[in-house]
């Protein structure tokens, strides 16, 4: 991966800017595989995303991934919601992670990134993570009368009623 050196300075600058602007929010910042990974408190998510898009130039939200760490040691929330951002010219990658307890909600990214709409609906459908501020949060894959959230660890692979 040739872009090691040049990238670090760009990402370093962003880490300082983030910790400067949002002192309470940024819990941890680390460099794994030359990607900046930042753990945030979920309340500050909307403002951090707004800052990253407007000032830091991260114009594309590539993916919203949710991890169910049921039974994993520690961690204040059951679900970890990961936002993957990318800045187009210069191709900088950023990973924002926020922990959410079961049943709790976190601010939605739709006002900032329009492509978060369906990704959030998928996260809700599969995990039951609630996003407040989302235009119409309802199931995207499963039929509307489906109970339970399939991708949770405690949901059986073959489905509750034996996958009739």
């Amino acid at each position: 991966m040739p872009e090691d050196a040049a990238d670090r300075t760009g990402l370093d600058g962003i880490l300082e800017a983030l910790t400067g602007r949002f002192p309470g929010a940024v819990l941890a910042g680390a460099f794994e595989r030359n990607e900046l990974s930042v753990r945030l408190a979920k309340e500050s998510l909307a403002s951090v995303l707004r800052f990253l898009k407007d000032e830091a130039g991260f114009n594309a939200l590539e993916d919203i991934a949710v991890f169910d760490n049921l039974g994993a040691a520690g961690g204040d929330g059951r679900f970890t919601v990961v936002y993957r951002l990318c800045r187009f010219p210069g191709a900088l990658r950023l990973r924002l992670a926020a922990d959410v307890a079961e049943g709790a909600s976190l601010p939605s990214a739709v006002p900032v990134y329009r492509s978060a709409d369906w990704a959030a609906r998928e996260a809700f459908d599969m995990f039951g993570v609630l996003f407040d501020g989302h235009p119409d949060l309802r199931r995207i894959y499963m039929p509307d009368d489906f109970e339970g959230h399939p991708l949770r660890k405690d949901f059986p692979l073959a489905g509750r009623n034996g996958g009739a």
Binding site: M142, G159, G163, A164
Partner: protein, 167 residues
């Protein structure tokens, strides 16, 4: 008249032979594809494998005009009622073909949202195995279906309509 059916007089078998000859040589498939098998179905209808030679290239988009329902792809629980209604909309002498392992028995997806086999909702005449079946496999399945139609007795049904329900 029904005991005459048992002896299948010369006149009736001749009529059967003619009707089934027509039905088997003008099988219009229903142009509905679900997943990967649909692409192989289209490749079978395309230039190189060309099922037009058997008169089957008229993929009818409306179920009303189709005779053969090729279930090509994975049937999910959300799609099953739609599939069942499409099957009911097709006019009567109709045949169903489960193309690909997903349609036969859920294929590589033993999951919460996949119907484990389309024969749970519609009566299937021919099963074509493969994931996806090669065009040659599909044509072999179509040939088997043609043989099955050739053996059927449509006149018995016309003269004795509730024969199917009894058998």
């Amino acid at each position: 008249m029904s005991e005459a059916l048992e002896r299948s007089p010369f006149l009736l078998t001749k009529a059967d032979a003619f009707i089934t000859w027509a039905q088997k040589n003008s099988l219009w498939p229903f142009g509905s594809g679900l997943a990967c098998c649909a692409i192989e179905m289209i490749a079978t209808a395309a230039a190189r494998y060309d099922i037009a030679r058997f008169g089957m290239e008229l993929f009818r988009a409306s179920p009303r005009q189709a005779d053969l329902f090729i279930v090509a792809g994975t049937v999910t629980n959300k799609m099953a009622p739609v599939l069942r209604r499409l099957w009911d909309q097709m006019p009567d002498p109709k045949w169903a073909m489960a193309m690909g392992n997903c349609a036969i028995g859920g294929g590589p997806f033993p999951t919460y949202s996949v119907l484990q086999g389309v024969d749970r909702i519609i009566p299937v005449d021919v099963y074509v195995a493969g994931c996806p079946p090669t065009p040659q496999g599909l044509i072999h399945g179509l040939m088997t279906l043609q043989e099955k139609i050739a053996r059927s007795h449509p006149t018995k049904e016309i003269l004795d309509p509730d024969a199917r329900r009894r058998s």
